[in-house]
């Protein structure tokens, strides 16, 4: 089971965080700080896995963003690497070609997307199509609302 997922930039700025276990905020901050420093200090020619306390940390860098997951000791690291990759693929498909700014300005979408992929820390075996369909359904919902509000504002509804 995945414990948490962090997205941070090369400067160490946190861009996204998702926790699947309950920790107090203070501890979360501490973990984040230590982990970001640890991952940023790794050289590019090292492997993407780390053992940190009793967790295993899997990270991968895409352009200026680091995707970093913590998993339990018996989990498969390679698989986690693929989960990250899959998430990036989904983001990419959705945003056209995704960049760090997309994630900063649409972080709510990134959260939606992550929820479709991982539920309670478990990967859901779904096709990419299904995930995108679910997101599209929400977008429709949103546009319906926007449409209604627009009409309301104009006094037509």
């Amino acid at each position: 089971m995945m414990q948490f997922m962090l997205l941070f930039s090369r400067q160490g700025k946190l861009r996204l965080q998702k926790w699947y276990i309950a920790h107090p905020d203070k501890l979360k901050k501490k973990i984040t700080r230590e982990l970001v420093a640890l991952v940023l200090s790794r050289k590019p020619k090292m492997c993407s896995f780390l053992e940190w306390k009793d967790l295993k940390v899997v990270y991968k860098r895409y352009a200026s963003l680091y995707f970093c997951c913590a998993i339990e000791a018996e989990d498969n690291e390679l698989l986690t690497l693929e989960v990250i990759h899959r998430y990036v693929e989904l983001l990419d498909k959705y945003f056209g070609s995704v960049c760090e700014l997309d994630i900063i300005f649409n972080f709510e979408k990134a959260y939606f997307m992550l929820d479709e992929l991982l539920l309670g820390g478990e990967v859901q075996e779904t096709s990419k199509k299904n995930v995108l369909k679910a997101i599209a359904a929400q977008d429709l919902l949103q546009e319906d609302e926007a449409f209604e509000t627009a009409l309301k504002e104009q006094g037509l509804y």
């Binding site: 020619k45 709510e108 959260y111 859901q124 096709s127 429709l140 926007a146 509000t149 627009a150």
Partner: protein, 990 residues
């Protein structure tokens, strides 16, 4: 309000152009933003902040405003949603936003459609299951679960997964609703409901039985996604040890079979691998089912075989499945042929250029070695190289591997390697783990305790923070077994005990050893005090005195030293006069660094010692009856009466005292008793002729090791041949030899029973896309080198004979030392413990360090040559740096969309076409023979292999590929018993 109008106006033209229900696929550049410009403006101004303080002032100001507007009643739900997302962003930056929690719940409750969703998402992100406010959301969740809207159902189920706590009341409220959702017509809802069931089972294992029927149905769901969660649930049930369904094995096998036949919808394929996540979960479940269950295991064998054969080297996901498959094979009832196959795959992992794969390979090998130790012989050189890998993560995994492959014959080398790793800079938690492992190994394999003690002394040579808490106890426990030999006067003291004492004395000579060492050494000295009889009194005392006066020691350690002094005194080893002088001195000087007016225990013990010196006890240990104890201390009655008649106050119990007494009168009288007790237990009081000048090294020297244990060691090439090469290759050769020596020592316990086809083509590094193929050339060159070596060996068989004659008995360096000990006479007569000796020890240590540095340089050379090609990758990084300043370019992910991957795979397939066909042939023929072989008795295979293996060295050179040749020559010294089909294959080719 204004921002809503802004938002609406912005969205109007688009809405009218493609209609409210325009299909999402038609949109090109997505402008699907929930938030208006104001939200973006907020993000921009936050990121524009130059310093942390600026950001802080801005955000605190902003948070105040948000709080105000959230508390107003006239804000629309859309605005609340936006404000909540600002809060999430502030939370991400690490600010306290707890005032907004209640608003997330409100929005989830009151909102509809999108607003509801936003409220839920905010609640999920900001709250957690143990948060008290999450209880307020339960009612809303319940309502939404019963709603007919699928999206509401979905989001409510997500919230259930995140927020429902393990409280029985809440669960019993939720569970029926969720269970009902398991029958929902839409798979999206079913899957989420199943996810909750999984989480619920994790939280409260006691409820599992009630759900078993439901869980079983999930396995047969028509949607693969739901089915995969069903498998996960079964896996969880298996892990928690619950009785599983009888037909589970066959069910899972049939699912796996379906996946492999690709009979499930192709939309579930991931990079050409069908349902990889499900595959891995099934494999894990099978591993649980097949453990120690022959019937289940047998039904899996063919399936696992198929899976191994299906291995697709081009898809990265395939490696993950393969790793899991290998682990499963090692967990179930072992099947020889499958294990052999698995070891071939592991070799590919470990020999890959990708660090990721190497890491996984080492892990797989660690699993594999537990069931089939011989599989390591194929990859020993790689393992030796990985030990020196620059990546600490890989290093630590390799250390794990070393630990698991330790056996009687190589444990000393393994331990010394572990200690070498201890010297490297690392995080402290792994240090204590490493020390713990070394201790475990010494406990397991060090029967005479001597080299184990060596290891302990080496670890403790300096102060360490990360020592296991029970370390001293464990060591003493182990040592007391050694010291517990039958003590009668006629027999000699065992050599092991002698050398223990000697080493303890040496250890105490170190100025800055750790306090644990002082404790252990002084314990050993007091236990075996009689062995110190021939050492000059003042020498012994000055040694202890010096340690005692070290400022870094704590009181407890000093007490250990003092009790050692006491037992030396009572055993009659040292003259009371000498001790009196030393103890007085200690007492005078210890005032300077510790406050004796506070530290009663230390002072008391010192006084005791002095008292003992004044009235030396002569207790005959033989005549003392240890079965009788005088707990009332009746022999002190006279003394107490006398004192009470005088001025002395009676003893008041500690709890009844008003003010602390300076020295406890009870304990000061107790001293004599304690002293005599230790005499009785410790010394047999007989002089012994024993221990010797000195051992040359406490540390293990690696270079000597292979020569001593070289039963299956590497053959050294003829020096004259080496000379003919140029200097560079000469150096490389030497480094290689060193590594080989190490390998020989490390792997001495393993005999390769079977060796499979040497198809070790380099695998392309899928995890770092930009590294071109020419990487492989680097690893080729030392292979070529060893190929030359093998030619040389092949050409001079008489040399091999000579080498064989040179082989010595597999003894240890320490045994050599004990020989010396026998020859020298007189215990410590010529003051063996001079400073030179300790220097010598250090030299030995340095030598071994130097060796490891040498081997490091080789890896660096490899790196340099690799570095050339990697620089291209760096280019991408530089581009990435510009991203922030201007319009965002895509993530580097774009550089490998599917079409590109296909391109490269074509390229690769072109390169590997030939190799792969051959491989397939091999594996097929292997497959046939493997199954027939498995029926045969293994011994007959071994014999056949031996006969054929003898010719293999020469054969291989002709049949092709310097690589194969080198492989074979490496293994030939390990008495490689080849699989019969392998040599058949060789014959066919030649």
């Amino acid at each position: 309000m204004s921002d809503i109008i802004e938002k609406t106006l912005a969205s109007l033209p688009k809405l009218f152009s493609d209609g409210p229900r325009g299909s999402p696929g038609e949109k090109t550049m997505p402008q699907k933003k929930i938030m208006g410009r104001a939200f973006q403006g907020f993000l921009c101004s936050v990121s524009r902040c130059r310093s942390l303080t600026e950001e802080k002032t801005y955000i605190t100001h902003e948070l105040k405003q948000i709080q105000e507007s959230l508390n107003r009643t006239d804000v629309s739900q859309g605005t609340v949603g936006e404000l909540l997302f600002r809060l999430i962003y502030c939370h991400l930056l690490g600010y306290d936003v707890s005032f907004g929690f209640i608003h997330t719940i409100k929005l989830a409750q009151q909102g509809t459609g999108l607003e509801k969703r936003m409220g839920y998402i905010a609640a999920i992100l900001l709250l957690h299951q143990d948060h008290e406010l999450s209880l307020l959301l339960m009612n809303t969740i319940q309502k939404d679960l019963q709603s007919t809207n699928i999206l509401d159902n979905c989001i409510a189920l997500s919230a259930v997964c995140h927020l429902v706590q393990s409280d029985v009341g809440v669960i019993s409220m939720m569970l029926p609703l969720v269970q009902k959702k398991l029958q929902h017509p839409r798979e999206l809802v079913r899957m989420r409901a199943a996810c909750y069931i999984l989480r619920f089972i994790r939280l409260t294992p006691s409820y599992q039985r009630h759900l078993q029927e439901n869980c079983r149905k999930l396995l047969y769901d028509k949607d693969p996604g739901v089915m995969s969660i069903g498998v996960k649930i079964q896996l969880q049930l298996l892990k928690s040890g619950l009785q599983s369904i009888e037909t589970l094995t066959s069910d899972l096998c049939s699912i796996l079979q379906q996946i492999m036949n690709r009979s499930l919808p192709s939309s579930f394929e991931y990079h050409g691998i069908p349902l990889p996540w499900l595959q891995i979960d099934i494999l894990r479940a099978l591993a649980c089912l097949g453990r120690e269950n022959k019937k289940n295991s047998e039904s899996m064998y063919p399936l696992l075989r198929d899976l191994l054969d299906k291995f697709n080297t081009k898809a990265r996901m395939s490696y993950a499945v393969m790793y899991e498959c290998i682990v499963t094979i090692t967990r179930i009832v072992p099947h020889r042929a499958l294990l052999t196959e698995a070891s071939v795959r592991v070799k590919r992992f470990i020999g890959s250029t990708s660090y990721v794969l190497k890491y996984i390979g080492v892990k797989a090998l660690t699993h594999l070695i537990a069931v089939s130790p011989e599989s390591i012989t194929d990859c020993q050189m790689i393992v030796v190289e990985l030990l020196e890998d620059p990546d600490p993560a890989i290093q630590s995994k390799t250390v794990d591997l070393l630990f698991s492959m330790a056996n009687e014959s190589n444990v000393k080398v393994v331990c010394s390697k572990l200690i070498e790793h201890l010297a490297r800079p690392r995080k402290d938690f792994s240090e204590s783990e490493l020390i713990d492992r070394i201790l475990t190994l010494t406990e397991k394999y060090s029967l005479d305790g001597v080299w184990g003690y060596d290891m302990v002394l080496t670890i403790l040579r300096e102060e360490r923070s990360g020592l296991p808490r029970d370390m001293v106890d464990r060591v003493l426990n182990q040592l007391s077994q050694v010291l517990n030999y039958p003590r009668d006067t006629s027999r000699q003291v065992p050599e092991a005990v002698q050398s223990l004492v000697k080493k303890s004395v040496q250890g105490l000579f170190q100025e800055n050893c750790s306090k644990e060492l002082v404790k252990i050494a002084s314990w050993v000295l007091s236990e075996c005090s009689f062995l110190l009889k021939n050492m000059p009194d003042d020498k012994v005392m000055s040694l202890l005195q010096k340690q005692f006066l070290r400022e870094s020691l704590d009181t407890l350690t000093r007490l250990w030293i003092l009790s050692c002094v006491t037992s030396l005194l009572c055993g009659g080893i040292v003259q009371p006069g000498v001790v009196t002088k030393a103890v007085r001195d200690m007492r005078d000087r210890c005032v300077s660094f510790c406050d004796t007016t506070q530290d009663y225990t230390l002072l008391q013990k010192l006084l005791e010692c002095e008292r003992l010196c004044a009235q030396p006890l002569t207790v005959d240990p033989q005549g003392l009856d240890l079965t009788q104890f005088d707990f009332t201390l009746s022999y002190l009655d006279d003394f107490v009466c006398d004192s009470l008649e005088g001025e002395t106050k009676p003893y008041i119990h500690k709890n009844l005292r008003m003010s602390p007494l300076k020295v406890d009168p009870l304990f000061s009288g107790f001293a004599e008793n304690a002293g005599s007790g230790s005499v009785a237990s410790d010394s047999s009081g007989k002089p012994t002729k024993s221990a010797t000048s000195d051992s040359k090294n406490v540390d293990l020297k690696l270079e000597g090791v292979s020569r001593v244990w070289g039963e299956e060691g590497f053959l050294e090439p003829d020096p004259s041949v080496v000379d003919s090469h140029n200097a560079e290759s000469d150096q490389k050769q030497r480094e290689l030899e060193k590594k080989q020596e190490l390998a020989a020592a490390l792997f001495s316990g393993f005999h390769s029973q079977s060796k499979s086809d040497a198809q070790d083509k380099e695998w392309k590094d899928l995890w770092s896309e930009d590294v071109p193929l020419n990487l492989n050339s680097t690893s080729l060159d030392w292979r070529a080198l060893s190929a030359e070596e093998s030619e040389r060996k092949g050409s001079s068989p008489e040399e091999m004979d000579r080498q064989e004659a040179d082989r010595q008995d597999p003894g240890s360096v320490l045994l050599d030392l004990s020989d010396q000990e026998k020859s020298t006479e007189g215990v410590l007569s010529q003051d063996p413990l001079s400073v030179d000796d300790t220097e010598h020890v250090q030299q030995g240590h340095e030598q071994s360090c130097g060796e490891s540095q040498d081997s490091k340089t080789t890896t660096h050379q490899h790196e340099q040559s690799v570095g050339l090609s990697v620089n291209q990758e760096g280019g991408g990084g530089i581009q990435g740096m510009n991203y922030l300043s201007r319009e965002p370019p895509p993530l580097s992910f774009e550089s490998f969309p599917e079409d590109r991957i296909q391109d490269s795979s074509e390229q690769f397939s072109g390169l590997y076409d030939g190799v792969e066909e051959e491989e397939e042939d091999d594996s097929e023929s292997q497959g046939d023979s493997v199954y027939s072989l498995s029926q045969l008795d293994l011994d007959t295979v071994r014999v056949r292999g031996e006969v054929r293996g003898s010719g293999a060295v020469c054969d291989s050179d002709s049949d092709g590929g310097s690589r194969q040749g080198s492989e074979l020559s490496l293994y030939s010294q390990y008495q490689v018993l080849e699989d019969s089909h392998d040599s058949e294959h060789n014959e066919k080719v030649s």
